[in-house]
Every structure is written in structure tokens, then in C-alpha cells.
């Protein structure tokens, strides 16, 4: 399979990461702007790479390790770009981009099979179910990163020995708001994805099954993130406690995405 566009997007993400980091230390507006533009270009390039793959397999590229990881990296980048534009804050770009780069590198490293796997499931509703589900995971991943940054910043602030980056990163309040926005995106996306999944399953089998471990894990995810969104309404829970809850919640996301997919479910085993 031709990976040229993947390499282009990887290079653009790497350049974007470089400029985000420079922007963090030099605080020059044009550097931040360039980083955002490069990120947007990387997202566009990867979109076309995914589109090419989708055309080849006649389905969204989720059912092999390459497609799954590449789609995930793309959605993380896309979600982050949305958050950045919404909150007008570029300081955390240098921490999110390595995550995107890592997943994209892994995707390229596993090299997609040139033999086209037969699509096990297809259709617009199914495509939306998968894509929006992965969007939810990527939004939770970003909220995890933001929560970790929050906890580190909070620790540094309390220790009273701030370094250079401390003065550059966003305020705790903004980090918390960004994390909350990201969780809201993930939570709604997961609800929509789950609903589409149920509808699609009903069309396919005539009934809705909740006994599948993946479905149970998803419902658990919805519950724990709803819990997070509920506790952050109370000022007494805001701050480090909420960040810790959010960071811990991500362990369940990882569990659902990896262990459940690989070992507990056959219905939702993608790769």
C-alpha cells in the first residue's frame, strides 16, 4: 500500500510539534500560528491517506491495526485542533502532538497489508458508529493528557519551584475547562456511537444485546465520565481531585480499547 500521504502527515505533525515547542519557549505568535497551520495540513494529509485506504477496502479503515491506529491518531489531532480553536490556547500542543506522532508512527510501523481484508460490516450507520466511537476515545485521551498536565502544574505550583515551562502553560482553571470540554465531546460522542451501534445491531440481528463485554465496558465508561462531569459541578471537587478522577477514568478507556477488544469480545474484535 502506498504510504506516501502517511509520511507527509507524519512530517507535518513533526514540524507542527517543533513549532508548538518553540512557541512554548519563545512565545512568538507566528510560531504558534504556523504550528496550528501545520497541524491542520497534517490532519488534511492524513484524512486523504485514510480516504485512500477506505476506498481500497470499501469500508472505514478500522479492522486492521494500521487503520485503527491511524484513525485514532487522526481523531486525536482533529479533536485537539477543535479544542485549541475553541479555547484559544496553544500551550499544550507540544504535549498532545507527541501522542499523535507516536500513534501515527506505530500505524506506519505495522505496515498495512496490501491484501484487502474482506469487510465484515459496512454501511453508513456502521461507519458512523465506529468513527464516532473512536472520536470519543480520542477526546478522552486528550482529557487524560490535560488532567496529567493539570496535576503536574498543580504539584509544581504547590512546591513553589516553577520552571520555565510553568510560566508558559495555561492556568489551572483553563486546563480544567479544556479537560472538561474534551470529556463532554467524548461523552456525547460515545452516546451517539453507542446508539448507532444498537440501531445497527437491531437492523442486523433484530435485537439489541447488552451482554457483550464491549457494550458493558462502554456503558461503564459512560457512567464513570458522567460521574466526572457531575462532580466537577461542585467547587469542592474541582481542581486536583477532578483531574485525578479524569486521569484514572482513562485507565478504563485503555482497558476497553485494548484488553476488552482483544480478549473479551468476538463481536467487537476489530484487529
Amino acid at each position: 500500500m502506498n504510504l506516501q500521504l502517511d509520511y507527509v502527515s507524519l512530517a507535518l505533525y513533526a514540524a507542527s510539534f517543533g513549532f508548538y515547542t518553540l512557541h512554548l519557549y519563545r512565545a512568538k505568535r507566528w510560531m504558534g500560528l504556523l504550528a496550528t497551520i501545520l497541524l491542520a495540513c497534517g490532519i488534511a494529509a492524513q484524512y486523504y491517506a485514510l480516504l485512500e485506504r477506505a476506498r481500497l477496502i470499501h469500508s472505514i479503515p478500522y479492522d486492521d491495526l494500521y487503520g485503527s491506529m491511524s484513525l485514532f491518531a487522526w481523531l486525536v489531532a482533529l479533536t485537539y485542533l477543535g479544542l485549541e480553536l475553541y479555547h484559544r490556547q496553544r500551550a499544550v500542543g507540544s504535549l498532545v502532538l507527541p501522542f499523535v506522532l507516536f500513534w501515527e508512527l506505530l500505524a506506519i510501523a505495522v505496515t498495512p497489508s496490501s491484501e484487502l481484508p474482506a469487510p465484515q460490516a459496512s454501511g453508513a450507520l456502521f461507519a458512523l458508529h465506529i468513527t464516532i466511537g473512536m472520536l470519543a476515545y480520542s477526546a478522552f485521551a486528550i482529557s487524560f493528557l490535560l488532567s496529567v498536565i493539570y496535576l503536574v502544574q498543580n504539584h509544581v505550583l504547590r512546591r513553589g519551584k516553577p520552571g520555565l515551562a510553568f510560566w508558559r502553560f495555561p492556568a489551572l482553571d483553563l486546563l480544567e475547562r479544556m479537560s472538561r470540554s474534551s470529556v463532554w465531546v467524548g461523552w456525547f460522542a460515545l452516546i451517539v456511537s453507542t446508539t448507532f451501534g444498537f440501531v445497527w445491531e437491531r437492523r442486523l440481528t433484530g435485537h439489541i444485546g447488552v451482554a457483550d463485554p464491549k457494550v458493558l465496558a462502554t456503558l461503564l465508561l459512560l457512567a464513570i465520565y458522567a460521574g466526572y462531569l457531575w462532580i466537577v459541578r461542585a467547587p469542592a471537587w474541582r481542581g486536583a481531585r477532578a483531574a485525578l478522577v479524569c486521569a484514572c477514568n482513562f485507565a478504563v478507556v485503555l482497558f476497553s480499547y485494548t484488553v476488552v477488544n482483544l480478549y473479551f469480545t468476538s463481536f467487537h474484535r476489530y484487529f
Binding site: Y25, R26, A27, K28, Q153, L157, R158, G160, K161, P162, L164, F166, W167, P170, A171, L172, D173, L174, A234, P235, A236, W237, R238, G239, A240, R241
Partner: protein, 452 residues
């Protein structure tokens, strides 16, 4: 900034050697008692620059005066070693301070050292507070005033524009000015690390102290929503509140007042803690656990240290803040070599431009000199040629004129093309001397005997 191309001599008039001079004093050379006597108000700065130009020695002048420095920048009309002396005399007369009192208090720089000094000032590395940002604005104002009143010329325009560019680059490309260097500013910056934008937040000032007042000034600049003041002496609280633009409260209201504000600044003298952990626990419960930022400026501490462990309470005492300021100071000092690198780059750029200006003047002077020689030679010899027609005379005139132009054209072209040739200012000075271009024009004219 203008390009590095060689300036057009005709635009600026023929210039010989450009002599930039600077005299002045700052916090390092003069005590505050002297500095406050040599301050120039904006009106005085304009007048001084105009008067300096009237002396005939100075062609361009700018006065930079702040609380920590008073400096005169001048460009001599002619190359003159005595320019700084004239400026010192004027400085002494203007402020009515005997010269002997200024001995050892004033620094003098000429040429590239004067340029470097101005660039250092604009970069903030010559300031009392390393990397302070205000000085750049003060230099801009001083230059703007001089420009408006016509006391600057091409040299000082270029030099001050260069200084402003250096200042801007230093602040955007280095960390010299990013971290807070005072306890008051560090407090407010730390509060911003917690709350982000402070607009819409409220503060309570407990007690009175100069640092607390500075904190309030910074909070005011950030458009804090509400400010309350509480002090053991209600009269003093009212006085402070009036000055700070806040609301005064009796000391008995202290615990009740803790509930609402997000930022607490305490500066109370006394051996007992003003805020105990229990008081803050109750306040935090009453405010539903919303984050509170506390700056304890008291010595001994006003806030019980155990309060530090309370959830969502960010407590900083004077030692924490002092340590942060010290760290920041070290970080700023570590940036000085980078700043100096930027300054060097711009000094070289300016010197190249200055050499260009001088080169243009040199070529202009050379052409005039050769032209004078040509005319004198023709006048002396054509009279002896019998039977020369007017047409031949005109042709001879044209031929010699073309010869002069060709002689000047080659070095002129090379100077325009090669920046290297323009750099060594001293080399240009030597050339002027070699061709006798600094001699008076009448001296260059042929004597009557020569004509005969």
C-alpha cells in the same frame, strides 16, 4: 528599518565622519540624590535637545530621561573629539550643577560604544531591574518627542529605530522579561497560574504594607472585580481603601470577609497568626471549596502554616515568593549572553549603515574635490592655448569631466556592492585624510599664482 543600501549623499547633505556621542548617568554611577537633580521633564528634554543643536557643535540630539537615568545623545556636525565635553558642559549648566560635582558620575561614550549603550538600555540589560519592560517604552517616548520636534536626523533616527527593534526582539526572542522579578508581581502572576484571567475575581487585603499596595496595583491593572480592605485600625483601612479604590471594613468582620474573595493578601505586623487553619477551613466550607489564593507577606507569618494542606488553598509566604523571584533573577541573568548576541548583531548592522553614510559623503567630497581640481587646471592652462576654438574648448571640458566621473564611478560602484568595504569606518577616515577631503573647500581652490 531602512535597508542596508548606501545612503544617498544628496538626500542628507554631504557628511564627513559621523561622530555619535553620549553622556549621562544612571543608577550605577550616580546616587539617587544626584539622579533626581538631573531629571529632564518632557518639556525640558525638548528644550535641551533644541539648545544643544543651537550650539553648532551638535547636529542631532535626543534626551532620554527616566527615574534611573538621564542621558544626552548627540551627533556632531563635524568630526570633533570635544563633542562629549561640550555635552557635559551643557548638562552641567542646564541643571546648574558644578562640573566637579559630576566628576566620576557621568559616563561618556562615542561611536559604536554609544550605539551599544543605547541598545543595551533598550534591551533592558542596563536597567536596575534586569530585563524590565518599561524602559523600552521610555526610550520610544524620548525618541518620539525628539522626532516630533525635529531634533533628530538620519543618524539618530536610524540609531533609535535600531534600539527599538533590539528591544522588541529581545523581549520576543529571549526570556529576559518573561518571569516576574518583584514579590508583588510574582504574587499576581502566581494567582494568574491558578485562575487565569483575574478579571471578575475579587480580593481581600488584610493589613497594610508597601508590598501589599504594590500587589493591589498589579491586581488593579488586571481589572479585578472587587477589592476589600480590612485593618486593625479602621481609619487606616479607610485611607487604604480610598487610595486603592476599594471598600473598607472593620477588623471584627475579618472571618466573615474570608468567604467571598478568591485572592487574600495579608500584611499584618504581630506575633500571632491572623488566619488560622480552622478559620480557613470554615471559610472554604462556606465558599463550597472554591480555590483560594493566599499571599502571606507578613513576618512573622500571618497565616498558620498548617493551612497549606487545605484542599484548593494555594498559600505562598514571603519566603516562597522571594525564592521564586531569586530563581527568576537567575533565569534572566542566564539570558544575558543571548541578549548581548542580539545587541552585537544590531550594532554591526548599524555600523555598516553608518559606514555607508560616510562612504556616500566621502565619494561626494572626492567628486567635488576632483571637479575643483579639474576646473582649476583647465582655467590655468587653456588660457595659454592659442587658436583653440570654442568647440574644442567645450570638447576638452567634456572630456575632463568624463574622466573625473569615471574615476569616482568605480569606487562608488564597489562601495555600493560590497558591504565589507563599508564596514571599516576607520578605513574611510583614512581615505578622507589621504585625499585631503576634510580640508576646507577654499583651501582646495588654486591660488592666484597657481592660476597664473
Amino acid at each position: 528599518m531602512a535597508s542596508d543600501s548606501i545612503p544617498n549623499a544628496s538626500d542628507r547633505g554631504t557628511r564627513g565622519r559621523v561622530e555619535i556621542a553620549l553622556i549621562g548617568c544612571n543608577h550605577l554611577t550616580a546616587p539617587v540624590e544626584l539622579r533626581e537633580r538631573v531629571v529632564f521633564t518632557p518639556e525640558q528634554a525638548v528644550r535641551a535637545a533644541a539648545e544643544l543643536r543651537k550650539t553648532g557643535v551638535i547636529e542631532e540630539a535626543v534626551v532620554v530621561s527616566t527615574c534611573n537615568r538621564s542621558e544626552l545623545y548627540g551627533v556632531a556636525a563635524e568630526s570633533d573629539q570635544s563633542t562629549p565635553t561640550v555635552m557635559v558642559s551643557y548638562f552641567s549648566e542646564f541643571h546648574k550643577i558644578p562640573k566637579r560635582e559630576l566628576d566620576g558620575r557621568l559616563y561618556q561614550h562615542v561611536g559604536h560604544e554609544a550605539v551599544r549603550h543605547l541598545f543595551r538600555v533598550a534591551a533592558g540589560i542596563d536597567s536596575m531591574l534586569l530585563g524590565e519592560a518599561e524602559i523600552l517604552g521610555q526610550v520610544r517616548e524620548a525618541y518620539g518627542r525628539a522626532l516630533e520636534h525635529g531634533s533628530t536626523g538620519p543618524v539618530l533616527n536610524r540609531m533609535f529605530q535600531g534600539a527599538l527593534e533590539v528591544g522588541k526582539r529581545v523581549r520576543s526572542e529571549t526570556e529576559i522579561g518573561t518571569r516576574p522579578m518583584s514579590v508583588a508581581l510574582a504574587s499576581v502572576k502566581l494567582a494568574e497560574r491558578v485562575f487565569g484571567n483575574l478579571k471578575g475575581h475579587s480580593a481581600l487585603i488584610i493589613g497594610a504594607g508597601s508590598v501589599a499596595e504594590q500587589v493591589v496595583e498589579h491586581l488593579r491593572l488586571r481589572e479585578i472585580r472587587e477589592l476589600r480592605v480590612v485593618n486593625r485600625s479602621f481609619e487606616r483601612a479607610k485611607e487604604l481603601a480610598r487610595r486603592m479604590g476599594g471598600e473598607a471594613f472593620e477588623w471584627s468582620n475579618l472571618e466573615r470577609l474570608l468567604v467571598q474573595p478568591d485572592i487574600l493578601v495579608t500584611s499584618v505586623s504581630g506575633s500571632q497568626h491572623v488566619l488560622t487553619r480552622t478559620m480557613l477551613e470554615r471559610a472554604m466550607a462556606a465558599r463550597s471549596g472554591r480555590a483560594t489564593f493566599i499571599v502571606d507577606l507578613g513576618v512573622p507569618r500571618n497565616v498558620e502554616p498548617e493551612a497549606e494542606g487545605l484542599y484548593n488553598v494555594y498559600l505562598f509566604n514571603i519566603d516562597h515568593l522571594g525564592e521564586i523571584v531569586e530563581q527568576n533573577k537567575r533565569a534572566r541573568e542566564a539570558e544575558v549572553p543571548r541578549v548581548k548576541g542580539l545587541i552585537d548583531e544590531h550594532v554591526l548592522k548599524f555600523l555598516a549603515w553608518q559606514s555607508g553614510l560616510e562612504a556616500a559623503g566621502l565619494l561626494d567630497a572626492l567628486q567635488k574635490r576632483l571637479e575643483a581640481e579639474r576646473k582649476a587646471l583647465l582655467a590655468a592652462h587653456l588660457a595659454h592655448f592659442d587658436g583653440i576654438s570654442d568647440a574644442d574648448r567645450a570638447r576638452l571640458e567634456q572630456l575632463t569631466e568624463e574622466l573625473v566621473n569615471r574615476i569616482v564611478e568605480m569606487p562608488s560602484g564597489r562601495l555600493r556592492q560590497s558591504r565589507k568595504l563599508r564596514r571599516p569606518v576607520e578605513g574611510l577616515a583614512a581615505l578622507r585624510e589621504l585625499f585631503g577631503l576634510d580640508e576646507r573647500e577654499d583651501a582646495a581652490k588654486p591660488s592666484e599664482d597657481e592660476k597664473k
